[in-house]
């Protein structure tokens, strides 16, 4: 069973189908913001024998100015969401989520939630109340994933995370759908604070391994590989950068941005390189086959990098990431998963260094990012004695 999930969003074209046909897809997280009911129903049916969950995206209404295009069509527009909601209104939100799932024929539920800026702020109690209310209403008749959207800074202090875990692990749910709100507005791929990432891995480990919940890491890019290594049963990414890292800005009105330069994700470097320049030089180098194991990709990048479109970039990124996630998830026990990812990080870092010495002008952020992953993983293993 594949562990890679698609984080569905606007502009899916045939990307889900391609992953599905390649046997790389473990599930689809449907976005009600991006398609109205008939289209979303069709999306749901396009991957008929993989897991499907509807992310109800109620968190949008706890983001200042947050809106979502198609929510109204699904009965999921909740402009009155606030931390002081009475129990009856919380129950109405839960019922709206259940109804939206029923209309789409989705049986397993993701409970509604809000964005938590910390793990002990006023929104935390609402998030827990929504989870408890969902579990009460469902009363064991359906599988329920508690959803939790936390700002990255909420992961800064392990004691806060541990205190939250004491409460959250009292919930009689089947799983958790975790999203980290990356406030960083820097260039893609955004850098992690290593201690925050360590605490995220510990959170995943505690939920999945110590407390035996299924854990699904939403809006995850390469850090999803680490989360699966730490015990998550799946990680989800999408075709746009905004589907690989959660940010408030995705849900706030904007005037639109500059179109991104196409990147070509290198599985051997665990880095999405710019197709023109970086990707083409790497593909032509003696380490080309290590960086890009797919010969067709190497050929495309080395012969015509300008022809590497955003659509190519998205499809290739998802396929390559899915293969790594699925391979890691095959390993057992957890220490073997972690060993495998450590080896990949070490190899990637070494190759990056070699290529830099050979004159490929990489962004310094690439190496730093791999070092951050490695530091976070090492600290996680030490703190959890794995």
């Amino acid at each position: 069973m594949a562990s890679f999930w698609v984080q569905h969003g606007y502009g899916k074209s045939d990307k889900i189908t391609r992953l599905y046909n390649a046997g790389l897809l473990g599930g689809v997280l449907l976005s009600p913001a991006d398609e109205e009911q008939p289209a979303l129903q069709a999306t749901r049916e396009s991957a008929s024998d993989v897991d499907v969950l509807l992310d109800p995206q109620t968190y949008v209404y706890s983001i200042p100015g947050g809106t979502a295009r198609c929510h109204e069509a699904h009965g999921l527009d909740i402009p009155n969401l606030n931390w002081g909601m009475p129990a009856s209104e919380v129950e109405a939100v839960v019922q709206a989520v259940i109804d939206a799932n029923n209309r789409l024929g989705v049986t397993d539920l993701i409970a509604p939630t809000c964005v938590q800026r910390s793990l002990n702020d006023v929104w935390t109690s609402l998030a827990l109340q929504m989870a408890r209310t969902t579990l009460n209403v469902v009363n064991g008749q359906r599988r329920v994933f508690v959803s939790s959207v936390v700002e990255e800074s909420a992961l800064a202090d392990w004691q806060d995370v541990a205190n939250w875990l004491d409460v959250a692990t009292g919930l009689d749910a089947d799983g958790f759908y975790l999203i980290v709100d990356r406030v960083t507005q820097g260039s893609y791929p955004a850098m992690w604070n290593p201690s925050h990432l360590t605490n995220l891995l510990r959170l995943v480990y505690s939920l999945s391994q110590l407390n035996e919940y299924e854990v699904l890491a939403g809006y995850s890019d390469i850090e999803g590989i680490l989360q699966v290594a730490a015990g998550a049963s799946g990680s989800a990414a999408g075709w746009f950068y905004s589907l690989r890292a959660f940010s408030d800005s995705k849900w706030q009105p904007s005037s639109g941005g500059r179109q991104a330069n196409p990147r070509a994700f290198s599985a051997g470097l665990l880095t999405p390189l710019l197709a023109v320049g970086e990707g083409e030089q790497v593909a032509r180098s003696e380490l080309g086959a290590d960086a890009y194991p797919d010969e067709a990709v190497r050929t495309a990048l080395s012969s015509n990098p300008e022809g590497w479109s955003l659509v190519d970039a998205a499809s290739h990124h998802l396929g390559a990431l899915a293969m790594i996630v699925n391979d890691v998830a095959q390993q057992s026990p957890i220490s073997a998963r972690l060993d495998a990812v450590e080896t990949q990080l070490t190899d990637a870092h070494g190759r990056l260094g070699t290529l830099e010495q050979q004159g490929v002008p990489f962004s310094g952020a690439y190496g730093q990012r791999l070092e951050t992953f490695r530091r976070a993983l090492d600290a996680f293993r030490e703190l959890e004695s794995i």
Binding site: A162, L165, D166, V167, A168, T169, G170, S206, L210, N211, E212
Partner: protein, 281 residues
């Protein structure tokens, strides 16, 4: 508030009094013989206002809980509660089954064989599982509250300070929880409104008494050395040397260490998971 077994014997002439079993904070217990069968008669120390008065809430809950939970590892109520005039005042009484094997605190002078520890562990986990299913947290698992029946099966006594998840709290939410400090899980020392009390609290208690049985009475966190005691308790850092000295098999030591974790989220989430782990050896 003092009450003696002699005064109780005088009020219950239909029974033959065998011996005084001692008194706790709220009750006096006497061993009696009724139709040739030994039983335990428990009488509340506090008097109530007349024979038709409501039972004290804590006592009412305790007896209801014992009647509600059907598990051979939880003490059984045979009769009561009822009210009788004892030592000149109306008092609540009830009768429990007598367990002839004595209490755990009298059996901690040397390390137990690991099979015996496993049997104790499983028996107590079954008791806590039955309580979990009924929405009850015992909160006072300690050697004095564990007796053994004639077959050596452990039985958990005294739900006097139990927590009932579906009932309103009797205690002040801004105080700490009722407990016996030496055997209390770390969350019982915290302000009640800031912590979660659930079956994981009892799992800690099970781990602690089983550690004591495995090591012949050694406490895993050494409360006799009060400096940094709470820190040791909160971090779940147990001294494993006594387990090694008692040749406790590693899988059993691992389960005990897991039960004794300071944070509830690092223990077993459900009693079933601990039971499954205990079946592995």
């Amino acid at each position: 508030m003092s009450l003696t077994c002699a005064e109780i014997a005088e009020a219950f002439p239909e029974y033959r009094f065998v011996k005084d079993l001692g008194d706790g904070t709220f009750k006096v217990a006497c061993l009696i013989e009724d139709d040739g069968e030994q039983k335990v008669l428990k009488v509340s120390k506090a008097a109530i206002e007349g024979p038709d008065a409501n039972l004290p809430e804590r006592l009412r809950r305790e007896i209801e809980a014992m009647k509600q939970v059907n598990c051979e590892n939880i003490a059984r109520v045979l009769a009561g509660p009822d009210v009788r005039k004892v030592a000149g005042e109306d008092r609540v009484f009830y009768i429990e089954r007598f367990y002839s094997g004595g209490t755990l605190d009298k059996r901690l002078d040397s390390p137990w064989a690991s099979e015996e520890v496993v049997a104790l562990l499983r028996g107590l986990l079954l008791a806590v599982k039955a309580l979990e299913d009924a929405g009850i947290v015992h909160r006072d698992i300690k050697p004095e509250n564990i007796v053994f029946d004639e077959d050596g099966k452990p039985v958990l006594l005294d739900l006097g300070i139990a927590y009932y998840k579906d009932l309103s709290s009797i205690t002040e939410p801004f105080g700490d929880s009722p407990k016996t400090a030496r055997w209390a899980a770390p969350e019982l020392f915290a302000v009640r409104s800031t912590v979660v009390i659930d079956s994981r609290t009892d799992l800690f208690g099970v781990g602690l008494v089983c550690f004591e049985a495995a090591t012949g009475g050694v406490h895993p966190f050494n409360p006799d050395e009060p400096e940094h005691y709470m820190e040791r308790l909160n971090t779940g850092h147990i001294d494993t040397q006594p387990l090694s000295a008692a040749s406790v098999p590693q899988p059993l030591a691992d389960v005990l260490a897991r039960l004794l974790q300071g944070a509830p989220n690092r223990r077993y989430r459900k009693v079933d998971a601990a039971l499954t782990a205990s079946e592995a050896f």
